[in-house]
């Protein structure tokens, strides 16, 4: 009798553990606010993990640095390579339960990573991702394939914009949204926003420079803690042409606006 009871309890536990996953229907969707980008224009992809039905238990972050969500990029030459985030992080997270219609959203800065600039030449690119954080799932969850075009510079100005942004230090600064020690990168980004203020490249550069100065920076290279500089931050962020940047950055800027008393250049 006791044995039967134990067996029933075990079965119950097993069913409970797998119930959510077995009945859950999940989708992983990649999207972008536009499909054509200038060469060097930072490409940020929106990711949505959505529960379409049932209940799903998820353990993992949608930030690729945690290596639960892995992106793959196929370039104009045809080969597909895994995207390597600039930083790898090792963490323990908490489990999230997604009910029907609920989702997790994140934006992934794919333009620069361990292999340098991810979209280094004009042409057609395809991006897909797999998510390995669904508890109890038999395998990773695959996304749709997102097709993007990187346009060749149409003139010398666009060539110059790409040249000014596509350096190693600039890439790191744009990803980190900071880094006072990346002096050469900062210099190039300042030149970019000064010479080509209306370009999409400048919009991202202004955003990163402004975000950097909105926070203090522990500069271990000089041994000095730089305090936040709201004046400088405001100066750069007010110049961001909001309509040119990815929606996720736009949202962050809007959240910051009242704190820094920003006068945002919203699209007409």
């Amino acid at each position: 009798m006791r044995r039967k009871l134990c067996l029933l309890v075990c079965c119950g536990v097993i069913l409970w553990l797998f119930a959510g996953v077995a009945s859950a229907e999940l989708s992983l969707t990649l999207s972008s606010h536009k499909s054509s980008f200038a060469l060097g224009e930072p490409i940020i992809v929106d990711v949505e993990l959505k529960c379409l039905g049932g209940t799903a238990r998820v353990l993992g972050e949608l930030d690729p640095k945690y290596h639960t969500l892995i992106f793959f990029v196929r370039g104009p030459a045809g080969g597909e390579e895994a995207f390597i985030p600039l930083v790898l992080a090792e963490a323990l997270g908490t489990e999230t339960t997604l009910g029907p219609g609920e989702s997790l959203k994140e934006s992934a800065k794919l333009f620069f990573g361990g292999r340098g600039w991810t979209f280094p030449s004009p042409g057609n690119y395809q991006i897909r991702a797999v998510f390995e954080g669904v508890i109890g799932a038999p395998g990773p969850l695959s996304s749709n394939v997102l097709a993007l075009e990187v346009r060749a510079p149409a003139n010398t100005a666009e060539q110059e914009q790409a040249r000014l942004i596509m350096g190693r230090e600039q890439g790191k600064f744009l990803i980190y949204e900071g880094g006072d020690h990346l002096t050469q990168g900062i210099q190039a980004l300042r030149a970019l926003v000064s010479r080509y203020p209306r370009s999409p490249h400048a919009a991202y550069a202004n955003f990163a420079l402004g975000m950097a100065y909105s926070k203090p920076f522990k500069n271990f290279k000089t041994g000095v803690l730089r305090p936040a500089n709201p004046v400088l931050a405001r100066n750069y962020l007010n110049k961001v042409r909001v309509g040119l940047i990815a929606p996720s950055l736009r949202m962050r800027l809007q959240q910051l606006a009242p704190l820094l008393n920003l006068n945002l250049r919203l699209p007409r």
Binding site: L86, V87, G93, G113, Y176, L225
Partner: protein, 522 residues
Amino acid sequence: MKTKARISFIMCLVAIVVLVGPVWGATRSLTNLLSGVRGGVGLCADPASRDHAYFVEYNAGTLRRVNLSTGAVSTVATGLSNPVDVAIAGRTAYVTEGVGRLTSVRLDTGEKATVVSGLASPQQIALRITLLRVALPSADTWGGGVVPVGLGVEPRIERIPAEIVRPRLRLISQAYVVEHGSGKLTCVDLLARSKSEVKSGLGHPVGVVLEGNIAYVSEQDGGKISRIDLSTGRQTTVVSGLSQPFFLYKRHNRQGLFVTERGAQRLSYVDIGLNPTAAKEVASGLSALPSGILVSADESKFYVATDAALQKAVLRSSFVEIDCMAGTAFPPNGLSHAGEIATLEGIYLEAAMMVDVRHDEDSVANLAGADNIFSDAELDALMAAHRNPAFAASGERWSAHLIVVNGIYTEPGPGWETYGVMFDTTDRQGCAVFYGRALISGEPKAFLRTSAHELGHEFNCLHSFGDGTSSIMTRTGDIDPFPDAISYHFTEVSKRHLREHPSDHVRPGGSAFASCPESHAP
């Protein structure tokens, strides 16, 4: 017909052996530098040339000099009676002989002279040649009456300050020899040509090395290495259970010994700074009767004299520079876990990598003030700012870097705890562990494992190398429960990557993370 088949079979076996060439064990490769050796035993560096070494042949009675790059060999002296070990001081070699002698051999002429006799099966020699200044006119000048100015195999006279009037110099020139037959450690005064007993009652001692006033002795009885205080004679066991431990080699400037184990035909490493400690395999599959050891300065090449050959084991070698922020600690070493003693060195030795862990700065300012949260950009600056050029990569030795951060990482959201990061993936030159996390500061197992894991990323190991196991490279979130279910071992996939894949795809700074053309299939 049967004979033909047998011959074919033997030919096939020979062909396989020839084709396979170097033995792939724990080492990257094990090759014969010199074959046809007739009872190779003692082996030592040539102080005059880092490319050469001396060794003795027990059966042939010869002292020979070998080029460590080419294997070219020349005979220095013949007619020795079962020579066992050799040590060099200046232009003189000292050789222990099975007949009970310690003999000096002039390296330029080959001329031999008996230093002492009556030793009972003398084995390894450890020279101690020290020049002392004594009876100085003023104790204040030097803060004492006796100042050693050189300790090593060669006397060295340093500049004598002008204020020292008529200093007296005294040369201490000693050889410490273990006697297998009598169980003694004996000190031989090389100038007076006399001997004195230092320690008796040893269990068939074979190997001896000195470190300051301490002698380390390998004993066949109990398969142990003992530590003997030469001032007090106090003896303690460092490690036991070795398989016929033979000669010893002291790791340069480090708390470590290499030992040949004849029973297991391997070369092992013992961290003598730990208590308890354990032997870790450096090279296995050595030829019969491995004895004398010589290690290159960059710790990438290990030479062992065996009965029939001089063998060379090649390992990968890397400094691991560790810096700590004020208020943190260096990663723990020598943890007892699952019946083993876990160390960074031991973890990497399993993958044929000799890491030289250097605790460098211990009070890096965290610049944090009230803010102990570290962003990616700040960590990037931190990595670049604290590299010590003394531990820079050079030659065959690489350099990895780890910083223990007094704070936490900018987490992606509530409920997340990041324990370590690797920076940056474009060239893999640094990593950090977050001491601000209670699991790191309060749980040594997690601290050591996270350090080994992040360093693994610096050596271009991927999470997927740990698939299905709780190995060093398994993603932390996949270990359940963490840290109790951890293992301090790499998977075979990781080991193969660390040991065999092209240098640029393993060494920190060599290439971007995950860029390795080799297969990583299990």
